[in-house]
Amino acid sequence: MERKIRVLLAKPGLDGHDRGIKVIASAFRDAGFEVIYTGLRQTPEMIAEAAIQEDVDAIGMSVLSGAHMTLFPVVLNLLREKKAEHILLFGGGIIPEEDIEKLEKMGVGKLFTPGAITSEAIEYLKEEIPKRRKEEKLF
């Protein structure tokens, strides 16, 4: 059976709109992904934990609050601590070019800025995720 792409969508922080992320969630579903949406006001700890339990291929994080330089690295570190660095962390938000560069250097995946269309993210995941999956020794 073809393995489904599983993505967790999260919106950390206190800003209270989830319309945008819901639109993305629907687009991902329509692309054949299994999308886990966990709701608003997620802490980095909650996001990393949920991603592990759901064994997602990727976490898509939407950060509009300006706190991207803390939130992305914190989640990345939590994933590493929990031995789940195989999970791709990507995202979107109002993020200046130079910050994007810094974050990508740290190991964050692609970051989409408001002009981007969801199909770009879908293409990106379809290409990136199979590359990152690896066979593991089970027994």
């Binding site: 329509d30 054949g32 949406y37 966990t38 592990i52 339990q53 759901e54 064994d55 031995k83």
Partner: protein, 318 residues
């Protein structure tokens, strides 16, 4: 360390990966299941079904918190539908279970139904085993919640709760959907809303009959109707008490054992059936020129009945 060793050391990353492995029925997943099988059988399974939006996830969240506060470990499987058009799914049950992410020893897994129609996914049963083997004391299974067809849950759970709400319409609808037959405990959620007491009355009067009927077999489960307000954490203690009573009831009366036996039996049968199906499909592909036979049938030179019979004989399947 291998993934299996990590699983045995209770590493949640390993648990999660094995669930995926089983869910996808990846190569040799049966070997993994047969390996963990001796570690299973300890978990108690609670099924949570009912119409969409009735509060199943919210209630699951509250029950899990209660269990966790009593130092019991909990596994949750929340099933949501896969879109038949795109194969994708939006799994949103975790939204109502946010408080659990900081609670120790609770593991939540969302599953897409992936074309399965009985309210659970095709491999939910196996995922239950994985959580059981991992050492979860209680496993709560939330079904898709489309009412009419969520009947798989009974076969896989020890206690089944059906969640109603005042606005889920009349109890008559529920009866038609077969929900009355599968519930061990009836939950009227959103009791803060108008119509709750009416619904409770309706359910109770229907259940009077059922309660009496069962009495005549010497089994007297009371089929309780419990009024709760999941969002306000009201009624959860009583609900929990009833679940424990039901657990004791089925254990004391040999029902638990009977259920497990039936599960094992149907599991073995299913595995055999699946394997036979696979073997047959392989054979059909290999040695049966079905396109050609279709032409023959259309041309009036053959018919589906003799053709299939001939195939089975030639393939030595009968």
């Amino acid at each position: 360390m291998t993934l299996f060793e990590r699983f045995q050391k209770k590493d949640p990353v390993a648990l999660s990966k094995f669930i995926t492995y089983v869910e996808n029925q990846s190569k040799d997943y049966e070997k993994f299941l047969s390996r963990i099988y001796p570690m299973t059988g300890k978990a108690y399974r609670i099924g949570m079904t009912g119409p969409p939006g009735s509060g199943k996830s919210t209630l699951t969240d509250k029950l899990a918190q209660k269990l966790s506060s009593q130092d019991r470990t909990v596994g949750i499987i929340a099933v949501d539908p896969t879109s038949p058009f795109t194969g994708g799914a939006l799994l949103g049950d975790r939204i109502r279970m946010q408080a659990l992410s900081s609670v120790k020893d609770v593991f939540i897994r969302s599953m897409a139904s992936r074309g399965s129609k009985g309210g659970l996914a095709k491999t939910t049963k196996e995922v239950i085993l994985v959580l059981d083997a991992f050492g979860k004391d209680y496993i709560i299974i939330e079904t898709v919640g489309v009412g009419q067809v969520d009947l798989d849950v009974v076969d896989n759970c020890d206690t089944t709760l059906v969640v109603f709400t005042p606005e889920s319409g009349d109890a008559i609808q529920a009866m038609k959907a077969g929900l009355m037959e599968i519930a061990d405990i009836f939950v009227v959620n959103k009791a803060d809303r108008e119509g709750a007491s009416n619904l409770i009355y309706e359910l109770d009067s229907f259940l009077d009959l059922k309660r009496k009927k069962d009495n005549s077999f010497g089994k007297c489960w009371e089929y309780p109707v419990i009024s709760v307000q999941a969002t306000h954490n009201i009624g959860i203690d009583l609900l929990w008490k009833k679940i424990e009573e039901h657990k004791k009831f089925i254990q004391d009366n040999g029902i638990f054992e009977k259920k497990r036996k039936a599960q094992i039996k149907s599991e073995i049968k299913k595995l055999i059936e699946n394997r036979i199906k696979e073997i047959t499909e392989e054979k059909v592909k290999e040695s049966f020129d079905i396109e050609n036979i279709v032409e023959e049938v259309l041309a009036g030179k053959d018919d589906p009945y003799s053709a299939s019979e001939r195939f089975l004989r030639e393939a030595k399947l009968i």
